[in-house]
């Protein structure tokens, strides 16, 4: 009872990276709160699934294995969580801020009238004083996220309602194995007890999933463009620079919204989080929404003709110049000095 739960997302029978990242975070939260870490998997043909999950320090794994649970559809998975949580009364539930997590989380939180905070960039434990009623709550989950288009960072708490639910994007938390031989309990549930047959009304009739076209998440060098790149053609220059440097190309939300670059390369709170050793920000002003996705980069270079661009404040090198001028020079001098 009152443990930390992580909903593990599956592609086929493989647990998603984001879920393993959340198990790592969940383990730390559980240690802090002195409770257990429990995980949920729901899918089809899940024999041996515990091998993927246990090393992250899971004390109890709830397995829901039945036909119709993969591919994911909203209602059966929601019923599993809603009914299991009514029994187990978790204090915290974490899930990926993926298409699945953002489809499932709100439905579960609505049924349990618990709060849910989307796209958190940080999770901490702390106390909260409600001055109006003169009450102090200990050991609440601080759900920290940029808000309002990234102009503010808000800390959200759910003082009275449980579970405290949060979604987190892939790459925000670090995945770390706790113990290869961690011994946790596996509980196989009777799915029919949790999911009424009437839940299986939405059918997936066709499905195409491709491996990502890029490896931004794992890239050592990222060359990212913002609205200041001016056009799709401007981005072609970035791809040229990236090719030379063996880097991946990313983009700010403004550049994606303007149609300069594909959505799957967006870096920031509502996109990917990257941890490269070098990040070259080209024509990016640096709203917090973007910074949230790249601030852990080792070295940050900002190329911007606005010397007051917010990103310059976190950059190690600021080049005051236009991208049209500087990027070709970078390509030129890289070629010259590597020959």
């Amino acid at each position: 009872m009152n443990n930390v739960f992580v909903y593990c997302e599956l592609e086929g029978t493989t647990v998603a990276d984001v879920s393993l990242e959340l198990l790592t975070k969940g383990r730390k939260l559980a240690n802090q709160l002195n409770c257990s870490l429990e995980a949920i998997v729901a899918g089809t043909g899940l024999d041996g699934i515990e091998k993927q999950v246990m090393p992250y320090g899971v004390d109890k794994l709830h397995v829901f294995d039945a036909e119709g649970l993969f591919p994911y559809t909203s209602m059966p998975h929601a019923s599993i969580l809603i009914n299991l949580f009514k029994e187990e009364k978790p204090q915290i539930c974490l899930m990926g801020a993926t298409v699945i997590g953002r489809d499932l989380g709100p439905r579960v939180s609505s049924a349990l009238t618990s709060g849910l905070t989307a796209d958190c960039t940080s999770l901490e434990i702390g106390s909260h004083e409600d001055k109006k009623v003169g009450k102090t709550y200990e050991n609440l989950l601080y759900q920290i996220r940029p808000a309002f288009g990234g102009n503010i960072v808000a800390t959200i708490v759910n003082p009275e309602h449980r579970p405290q639910m949060a979604t987190v994007r892939e790459g925000v938390m670090k995945k770390e194995i706790c113990d290869e031989n961690y011994k946790g309990e596996v509980v196989k549930h009777d799915v029919a007890k949790y999911v009424p047959g009437t839940d299986f009304v939405v059918k997936v009739i066709d499905r195409h999933v491709e491996k990502a076209k890029h490896n931004l998440k794992g890239a050592a060098i990222v060359v990212a463009g913002g609205y200041g790149m001016g056009s799709k053609e401007g981005f072609d220059k970035l791809f040229e620079l990236a090719k030379e440097l063996h880097a991946e190309v990313g983009a700010s939300r403004a550049a994606v919204d303007a149609g300069f670059c594909d959505h799957d390369r967006q870096i920031g709170q509502t996109g990917l989080t990257v941890h490269p050793k070098l990040y070259i920000a080209c024509g990016i002003s640096g709203q917090i929404q973007h910074i949230a996705g790249m601030q852990d980069a080792g070295i940050i270079i900002s190329i911007n003709n606005d010397e007051n661009a917010p990103i310059n404040k976190i950059a190690d090198y600021v080049i005051n110049g236009t991208v049209e001028e500087v990027i070709p020079k970078m390509i030129k001098y890289y070629k010259k000095n590597t020959k």
């Binding site: 559809t73 909203s74 209602m75 929601a78 298409v99 699945i100 953002r102 489809d103 499932l104 709100p106 439905r107 939180s109 609505s110 709060g115 849910l116 905070t117 989307a118 759900q143 808000a147 309002f148 288009g149 102009n151 503010i152 960072v153 808000a154 800390t155 959200i156 759910n158 309602h161 009304v201 939405v202 059918k203 009739i205 499905r207 195409h208 999933v209 491709e210 491996k211 440097l245 403004a254 709170q269 070295i299 190329i303 917010p310 404040k313 976190i314 090198y317 600021v318 080049i319 005051n320 110049g321 236009t322 001028e325 500087v326 020079k329 970078m330 001098y333 890289y334 010259k336 000095n337």
Partner: protein
């Protein structure tokens, strides 16, 4: 076959075009400096609804929004583009709602509208980016949901099933579900058609009760309610407003008191300034930087 469609739409501050005066000195948001717009993805949803209206004559499209009196603008905007009517949920008791209290309010209004086949809205609003209201409305109404929709492919008359193409992580999916159903639409879906001049002429004087009482923001040059007789003669010019009582809402589930999440603190963004090296775009500076990065094996 004709369909009854409810479009969920929100008036939002335009957070994409935030100027320097958007934040006050105390770190709170200066809403007055941000223009109020039709949430972009709700326009994508409206377009999907209007396409069904084109395909199935007799279909009605109703816009449902929640907000202050000036949010009647959202209903007007919907009417200009081809919607048939709308409701504005407006009450001080709705203020301060998080996604759950918002969904509760919208669900009570949907129940009052009663007769519907499809409830459709944008995937998320740009002021919160949570994507929670659609699924929560579905849960409150006990309906199935299809989120992240790109396109409604088909509505089958006989089975009353709807087929939708949707985005998933790393791919696309085609799903089919029975109506009534809740659908949320991505910004990458077809953009909304422009205003239709005929509808603009017809509805330009459509007003909500609060707008009628005040000098209307959309016609600031006019005295309050220039032509009162118009509204008796043409009932469609009256944008209907609903209070908590009108939708039989439970006050405990509305607004701030119905919101399990509380904002503990808000920080304006001030970055810790790093020691940084400032360079120019000159050949010498750029080459110097490249040489330095090569020397310390950051690149190469």
């Amino acid at each position: 076959m004709s369909l009854k469609i409810i479009v969920l739409a929100k008036q939002v501050p335009d957070t994409r075009n935030v100027g320097k005066d958007a934040m006050k000195e105390d770190g709170t948001v200066n809403r007055a400096a941000l223009p109020a717009i039709f949430n972009p993805e709700d326009l994508n949803a409206l377009e999907q609804a209007l396409r069904l209206k084109d395909a199935f004559p007799g279909t009605t499209v109703t816009v449902l929004t929640m907000g202050p009196g000036r949010a009647a603008e959202i209903i007007r905007e919907g009417l200009y583009r081809g919607a048939d009517g709308g409701y504005l949920l407006t009450d001080r008791a709705f203020a301060g709602a998080d996604t759950l209290a918002t969904s509760y309010a919208l669900a009570t209004a949907v129940k009052k509208i009663k007769d519907y086949d499809i409830i459709i809205g944008g995937r998320q609003a740009i002021d919160g980016d949570t994507a929670q209201v659609g699924p929560q409305v579905a849960e409150k109404l006990g309906l199935p949901q299809i989120t992240y929709a790109e396109e409604i492919l088909n509505v089958d008359e006989k089975s009353r099933h709807i087929t939708v193409k949707r985005h998933i992580d790393g791919g696309v999916e085609t799903v089919e579900g029975p109506m009534p159903i809740v659908i949320t639409v991505n910004g990458s879906a077809a953009p909304c058609r422009p205003r239709n001049a005929k509808f603009v002429m017809k509805y330009k004087r459509a007003l909500g009760a609060q707008e009628k009482a005040a000098a209307p923001a959309c016609h600031p040059d006019q005295a309050p309610l220039a032509f009162p007789e118009l509204y008796e003669k043409h009932p469609y010019l009256n944008i209907q407003e609903w209070s908590v009582a009108d939708v039989n809402g439970d006050l405990n589930q509305c607004g701030l008191s119905g919101s399990p999440t509380k904002v503990k603190s808000i920080e304006n963004i001030v970055f810790q300034a790093k020691e940084s090296k400032t360079l120019t775009g000159s050949d010498q500076d750029v080459e110097g930087l490249i040489v330095e990065l090569l020397a310390n094996h950051t690149i190469g």
